[in-house]
Symmetry: C2
Subunit: 230 residues, 2 copies
């Protein structure tokens, strides 16, 4: 039995926008593993309840459910050790964690403020009330208030990417000459934005954008062929 | 002939506060290499002019000068490959670069604003005019204006360390069970602050502080035995 991945989708079933799911889709491609992705909406929690989890990605490999993107990446590395390594060894695995936490606590909150209203507008109708009420409770204001004046924040956002910019100016990928899991982790944030929002977060000439383009085209264009705006 | 390291000092020759020099002193200890550190002040540029460089660290190994902390770390890794690895392999070396750039472009500017006046006050008299004029030209205000109200920025600074906090809550070091060069890079910023300023940047119970304490005590207390405030 092949692998299945529950993958967050909007009203259009092929609009897949979860940054965490993108990490895993690229990790699976890196390992050369085929997967059937199953479009999943926030209201589909019963579909994954058997895995004792309420979010995606959920990977089902031969009837075993694995949840949480970091756990899934480690599961893939350990289970498919004969395939290309996602971490490049023990040091690489340890050093990958900071990229994961930087993305979760710095990059994603910044991107969220640019795209959250676009996310809402792309959701399946049955997801909208849940999304609005849960997110507005978290951020303490309406989605519209949170997003207001987003263009004025673009310059500061781009400036905040300086460590990423300097790194991918010095080498093609965070992982060096070829990408590793940290590339997929950070790229996931940009792929989320691309999938859901017409707001172009990066200037065309930005080395961060050149790095993003390299990943968009990796694995026969897996990421660039997915529906997206830029 | 042994190794020598030109190491930034204050008016007191044993007050060594350069974050970049601390990276290298810990990297040398990691490699088990002995070094003679030579106190160097900003006005001592003629001492390193033969190496075509104006900043420290400058490492002199058997009459060969190596400049720039990242270059020195790579030189040590390549030249002393039989000693404990600073990067844990090729992937680790590539993944170390983002830590370097994050420290240089995010962590250090933030710390600078807390400690710059303390740096000034600890400098050798002949360094003060150079330091004040060069730094004030860069920041576009006086050192006093730049530092004003620093306590009000502490909470935001501590919050900005969340990726580091999450990482060292999940594993003892950025490098995993034992430290690697990225640990020394990030730690260098805190050791700079400790050496030069009584302002306590981290709460005692912060996991980042626990990680810092582990590094303070590494290599027989190399870092904690150096003059410092906290």
């Amino acid at each position: 039995m092949g692998m299945k991945l529950y993958d967050l989708a909007g009203a259009e079933s092929n609009r897949r926008f979860s940054p965490f799911c993108w990490r895993i889709k690229l990790a699976l491609a890196h390992k050369g593993l085929e997967v059937e992705t199953i479009p999943w909406r926030f209201s589909d929690k019963p579909l994954i309840a058997q895995y004792k989890w309420e979010r995606v990605p959920v990977l089902v490999d031969d009837n075993r459910g694995v949840v949480d993107s970091w756990t899934i990446a480690n599961y893939l590395e350990d289970t498919y050790g004969d395939r290309p390594s996602l971490f490049g060894g023990g040091a690489g695995r340890a050093l990958a964690r900071f990229y994961n936490q930087w993305s979760d606590s710095v990059l994603h909150p910044a991107i969220s403020r640019f795209v959250i209203l676009d996310v809402f507008n792309h959701l399946d109708a049955r997801d909208r009330e849940y999304f609005r009420s849960s997110r507005e409770a978290r951020i303490g204001m309406t989605l519209e208030e949170y997003s207001a004046g987003r263009e004025t924040r673009l310059a500061a956002f781009r400036q905040s990417l300086e460590p990423l910019r300097q790194t991918v100016s010095a080498q093609p990928f965070l992982g060096g000459e070829t990408p590793l899991y940290p590339d997929y982790v950070v790229f996931g944030g940009f792929q989320w934005a691309r999938a859901i929002s017409p707001l172009v977060l990066l200037e065309a000439a930005d080395p961060v954008n050149a790095w993003r383009e390299r990943l968009l085209r990796a694995f026969d264009g897996l990421a660039i062929e997915a529906p997206g705006y830029w």
